[in-house]
């Protein structure tokens, strides 16, 4: 790929441009609206595919600041332009081993979301526009290297999501949307304060003026380390406070238990076609944030709080798995399974070693594929049977052999079956956790056992035993639905059989972040005696 073209900007602009083009199509031209949306997401996907092929072939020379190669993150396809010169905010985009395959996942799930949306959806044009804007925002989150730019996309993502959740979905969507938005905004505002704090303290940094640039911020000597005292009590150091603010924002987005209660309600009230990208990519961005910002900006604090974070990850895995086991609403079973799986991803991140983080990145990609497929399957079942109550659905295998076969593959991926894509991620994550502390891996394995239990309970419950009354007379999924599920199932197997193309890139990314996080934080004495 030519390096003269700003490819990352192109990737960012295509969805926005398509959204604008969409406004020119009359609202009753439903096929054209959907076709254009699919075309736009397809164009993004093809460019992203090209970027992946070219990735690592021309490692670019670091663009900012004097930094030892082994301490900073090497971005590729970098673009830097002045944005708000007055405050030193830049338009700085870059792709690294962490974001490369997540970008691919992003392109894939939005393409899927565009294909999966029913052309009969009410206010289709509005929906497709929101989809495309959401894609642009999530791509922005993945690509921005400047903190202000990142925050702009991070918050901007909420606007189209808000309209999507509030306008399309189940009966209880108003309350669910409020909960989601309230939760996320609360977390984001704390993060904003922390960003400002970091910015203000970057005054004395290497480049001579304050900056929002991650590459600069992570090399600036950490602010003074003296703990804040309050009423005579020694609390956290300022940088630890800043980390807690970031961690809360990300923990809500992931979500980690106990910050999760927005998720089951939101997912339960969200249409399956929206969930392909809402569950597929948005929840991964919290985990992405932990790696991108937690490890680079807060190497000290993330180690200080490591055991708490690991504890939350384990809690998420086990607590959500137990709840998945107790639900009768099939959509909520999948929602809680998602929290449990994201617990594994968090466990890998907080192992703070290459295997853990590499596994986490791989698993983010895998989970995006799996959760999108699971919600689609559950959606197809609900659309045909007319209920989401597991107790009223049984014996679908007899009526729906195609759905049965595809759902089987998806179920196996969901429970971490060796040979499937999720095994690659879980094995690597648990190896990393085992290296950090064998007890973590053992507790994680309890989650693996529970996953087998609740996934089979879901699959067998729907598919087996004599046909239930509600399920009688249903028709199998048609060609269009098969066309959506087949590639997903194929990817699950393909990645399981040959994960190397993903693993090679993600491992190099994980390596950089771990190296970065293991840089010893400047000590108190060195700061007080310049």
């Amino acid at each position: 790929m030519s390096h003269n073209i700003p490819w990352l900007t192109v990737v960012l602009v295509i969805p926005l441009g398509t959204a604008i083009l969409l406004q020119l199509v009359p609202r009753d031209q439903r096929a054209a609206i959907k076709g254009l949306t699919v075309l736009g997401t397809l164009a993004t996907a093809s460019i992203v595919a090209g970027l992946l092929v070219a990735f690592n072939q021309h490692p670019s020379i670091p663009a900012v600041g004097p930094r030892p190669q082994d301490q900073a993150i090497a971005f590729q396809f970098e673009e830097i332009h002045s944005w708000i010169a007055a405050i030193g905010a830049t338009y700085h985009l870059g792709l690294d081993g962490l974001s490369a395959w997540l970008l691919a996942l992003d392109a894939f799930v939005f393409l899927l979301g565009a294909v999966a949306v029913a052309a009969s959806t009410e206010r289709l044009k509005f929906y497709c526009g929101l989809l495309l804007v959401t894609q642009a925002a999530t791509i922005g989150v993945l690509l921005s290297v400047d903190m202000l730019l990142f925050y702009f996309f991070w918050e901007g993502m909420l606007v189209p999501l808000y309209f999507l959740l509030a306008n399309y979905g189940g009966r209880d969507r108003g309350r669910a949307t409020l909960k989601f938005i309230g939760y996320t905004v609360a977390g984001s505002l704390l993060m904003l304060l922390a960003i400002i704090y970091l910015y203000v303290h970057s005054q004395a940094s290497v480049v001579g003026h304050p900056s929002f640039d991650l590459q600069v911020l992570m090399l600036a000597p950490g602010p003074a380390q003296a703990p804040v005292t309050f009423l005579g009590l020694q609390l956290l150091t300022p940088i630890q406070f800043a980390f807690v603010a970031f961690a809360l924002a990300f923990a809500i987005k992931v979500p980690l238990v106990p910050f999760h209660s927005w998720l089951p309600d939101s997912y339960a009230n969200c249409p399956p076609a929206t969930l392909t990208f809402f569950a597929g990519i948005v929840s991964k961005l919290g985990a992405f944030g932990f790696i991108r910002y937690g490890l680079t900006l807060f190497p000290g604090p993330i180690h200080d709080f490591q055991w708490i974070l690991e504890g939350l990850a384990i809690l998420s895995i086990l607590y959500a798995a137990m709840l998945a086991l107790a639900q009768s609403d099939i959509k909520r079973i999948v929602a809680y399974s998602s929290i449990s799986h994201l617990g594994f991803i968090a466990l890998g991140i907080f192992a703070l070693n290459v295997n853990g983080i590499n596994g986490a990145i791989i698993q983010m990609v895998n989970h995006g594929i799996i959760i999108a497929a699971l919600f689609l399957v559950v959606g197809y079942v609900e659309a045909r049977v007319g209920t989401r109550d597991r107790r009223e659905i049984a014996g679908l295998e007899r009526r729906m052999p195609w759905l049965y076969a595809l759902f089987l593959v998806i179920t196996l991926a969901g429970l971490g079956m060796p040979g499937m894509n999720s095994f690659v991620g879980e094995f690597t994550i648990l190896l990393g956790a085992f290296q950090a502390n064998p007890l973590l891996a053992i507790l994680g394995f309890l989650g693996v056992l529970l996953a087998a239990w609740y996934m089979l309970r879901l699959h067998q419950g729907l598919m087996h035993e004599p046909l239930s009354k509600a399920a009688d007379g249903v028709r199998d999924i048609g060609a269009a639905e098969r066309l959506v599920l087949l590639p997903l199932a194929a990817l699950m197997i393909l990645i399981g059989v040959y994960p190397k193309p993903i693993g090679d890139i993600t491992r190099s990314g994980a390596q950089q972040y771990v190296t970065r996080a293991s840089v010893p934080p400047p000590s108190l004495s060195s700061l007080s005696n310049p």
Binding site: I84, G182, S261, A326, N358, M417, K500
Partner: protein
């Protein structure tokens, strides 16, 4: 053997059954039953041909050059001292023996299935799952890399799950399938942990098995804690797959699957994978005597327990299932004391006669229209002469009556138990007890089913099975008569004396392993004599109690302490205990979390924060329009304002 040949054979061995599985699933519904009946068994036969070619090639090679490892493709690199995971396969005497049994016995069972499943509504589904099983099993035994072995290990469990739950309309089958799968996941987890311990403690550059073994021999002290832990974990994996105590409860329930499945998976192949695993990892087990002792004791203990349970079961398939559990216990005992070749020998003969017993039982069940209760059978020898003869051949082999296959393999491993293993020769003595039990339950079954007076009218109406279901059984019946003689004593001009041991032993001595010392000839003779006496006593008593009925079995049962009969009848209450300890508590906890913790606390604290904020902001009520849209707009405006403020004031 050249790597090209080895690689080609392995790829073919994978490709045939995999193509069969896909072909049956995708084309079967369209092309119909005839297509499935040809493709299903056909691909397994093709696999058998490949295995025979491999055997011939191995026999043509020098004894020291019979192990070839080939890397097919690179799977994943891990971020730990440059660790690489590849898809490696190995062709050596051990894997080829396994392949021969899997595809050979497997083909006969597929062939038999053509008849047995002749009226099934979806033969494509059946043969697709069966072919998938063959593929998984071959992947397991050909894998030369720990992670790939785990993949095969789990896929075997998957195909077993699919086939146990084949009759998915039956809730009991669905339950049994799930139970089997989750038990297998316990075993998988043990293997993962073993892999992690190996990876983190040995600085291995790859997870190729020969590499692991070489590093382990150099780094782990004999009997060290780490290697013992690793081997115990591997053993737990083996116990799950081979239905050994305490992970054995899934196997009897697995009889919910169609009978050919029980023959193939739950008798001949999958359940012996644990024996294979320990034999394959012999280098590690040789370093960990304590783990070996545990394995030997668990094996012998399971052999006794399953034998006792088999005595009182009334379902024909469950009796054979418990007998399988008991016989695998003996194999596990053998590999636990280091008698690897003897364990594999019993595996090979057992695969033949146990597949035979299941298929003959299948003929009976088929003839009686799915009746499995042996109390409703009896006198079937009158109407099903051929099946009865075959079943008798299998029974004699199972009971270890001289010249039949089981006699040679069982006495060989028991004899080694005289000198080796924990507290030798105590376990040998227990083994003789197992021989008595085996004779008892084997012939209890045979006499109850085939002799005596018919109990129901259905018996008179029973017909002998059609040729397609009889031929494979007859072939295996001949096999149980001659397999032992052929493999041990040899057939002049075809196979030499001690053929199997000579073929396999180099695998176990290649990397510094030592063969067990054989007892002196006179001692060996004595152990065989005592062991055979046990088999004969058991069989003789069964003849007296269940055939001649002087005294009647009921009278004997009344004399046995009630505790024992109850334990046997209720399978030592394991299902009840596990249900109370491992199934109910998590269910209850899950329900409590859903009904109390999640709404009251997880959601509650958020809403509490929300309420507190709301009461504080009473003064800002004007802003609270309650319309979400206003909030979102406000948020956007605020974010924009922030940027502007920064731009203006921060210079």
């Amino acid at each position: 053997m050249s790597t090209t040949l080895a690689g080609t054979l392995a790829v073919l061995l994978f490709a045939f059954p995999l193509a069969g599985a896909l072909g049956n699933a995708l084309l079967g519904p369209r092309l119909g039953r005839r297509f499935c009946n040809i493709v299903g068994p056909g691909v397994v036969l093709a696999g058998f041909v490949c295995a025979v070619v491999a055997l011939v090639a191995l026999l043509g090679a020098h004894e020291d050059a019979r192990s070839t490892t080939v890397t097919l493709w690179s799977w994943l690199d891990l971020g730990l001292h440059g660790l690489k995971v590849n898809v490696d396969i190995t062709i050596d005497p051990l894997s080829v023996l396994m392949c021969l049994v899997i595809t050979g016995v497997g083909f006969l069972i597929h062939w038999y299935s053509v008849g047995y499943m002749g009226h099934d509504e979806s033969p494509w589904r059946f043969f697709s799952y069966m072919n998938l099983f063959i593929f998984s099993m071959l992947l397991l035994v050909l894998a030369a890399d720990l992670v790939i072995l785990i993949v095969g290990w789990a896929m075997v469990a998957l195909s077993s799950y699919l086939l146990i739950g084949y009759y998915y309309d039956r809730p009991s089958a669905v339950q049994a399938a799930r139970k089997a799968f989750i038990t297998q996941v316990v075993g998988d987890v043990a293997l993962y942990l073993a892999a992690f311990m190996i990876v983190t403690n040995l600085r291995v550059p790859s997870l190729q098995l020969p590499t692991i073994f070489a590093y382990a021999r150099d780094s782990f002290p004999q009997g060290g804690a780490l290697i013992t832990g690793i081997c115990v974990l591997l053993a737990i994996g083996a116990f799950a797959k081979s239905a050994q105590f305490p992970l054995h409860t899934w196997l009897p329930d697995a009889m919910e699957g169609p009978t050919p499945v029980s023959a193939l998976i739950h008798a001949a192949t999958m359940v012996t994978a644990g024996v294979y695993l320990i034999a394959r990892f012999h280098t590690l087990f040789d370093l960990a005597p304590i783990a070996q002792g545990v394995v030997a004791c668990v094996g012998m203990g399971t052999a006794v327990m399953a034998g006792v349970i088999a005595l009182s079961q009334i379902d024909i398939k469950r009796v054979i299932a418990y007998s399988t559990m008991s016989q695998i216990g003996l194999m596990i005992f053998a590999v636990g004391i280091g008698a690897y070749s003897a364990g594999m020998f019993h595996f090979a003969t057992h695969a033949v006669f146990k597949a035979l017993l299941f298929m003959a039982a299948g003929n009976v069940i088929h003839a009686l229209h799915d009746e499995q209760d042996i109390r409703l059978m009896g006198g079937l020898g009158l109407t099903m002469r051929a099946t009865e003869r075959c079943f008798l051949s299998g029974s004699l082999a199972l009971a270890g009556i001289p010249i039949f296959a089981g006699f040679f393999s069982k006495e060989e491993l028991l004899g080694l138990g005289w000198l080796h293993g924990p507290w030798a020769p105590t376990l040998y003595a227990v083994g003789v007890g197992v021989n008595i039990l085996t004779g008892l339950y084997t012939f209890r079954l045979f006499f109850t089913v085939f002799r005596g007076e018919p109990v129901t009218a259905r018996t008179y109406a029973a017909h002998e099975a059609p040729p397609s279901m009889l031929m494979p059984v007859v072939i295996l019946a001949i096999g149980s008569l001659v397999a032992g003689i052929a493999l041990l004593l040899g057939i002049p001009g075809v196979v030499g004396r001690f053929f199997l041991a000579d073929f396999l032993d180099p695998v176990f001595t290649a990397d510094g392993g030592r063969l067990l010392s054989e007892p002196a000839t006179s001692t060996a003779f004595l152990t065989v004599l005592v062991g055979t006496a046990g088999s004969l006593i058991g069989s003789g008593l069964a003849l007296q109690w269940w055939y001649q009925r002087k005294p009647d079995a009921q009278v004997i049962a009344a004399k046995v302490p009630r505790v024992l009969t109850q334990l046997s009848l209720h399978k030592f209450y394991f299902d009840e205990i596990y249900d109370a300890l491992l199934v109910r508590p998590p269910r209850r906890l899950a329900r409590a979390l859903r009904t109390v913790v999640e709404p009251e606390y997880a959601d509650g604290w958020v809403e509490g924060v929300g309420r507190a904020a709301a009461s504080l902001s009473e003064t800002f009520r004007m802003l609270q329009t309650g319309r979400l849209r206003d909030y979102a707009t406000g948020m956007l405006v605020a974010a924009g304002a922030f940027v502007v403020v920064l731009a203006v004031f921060v210079r």
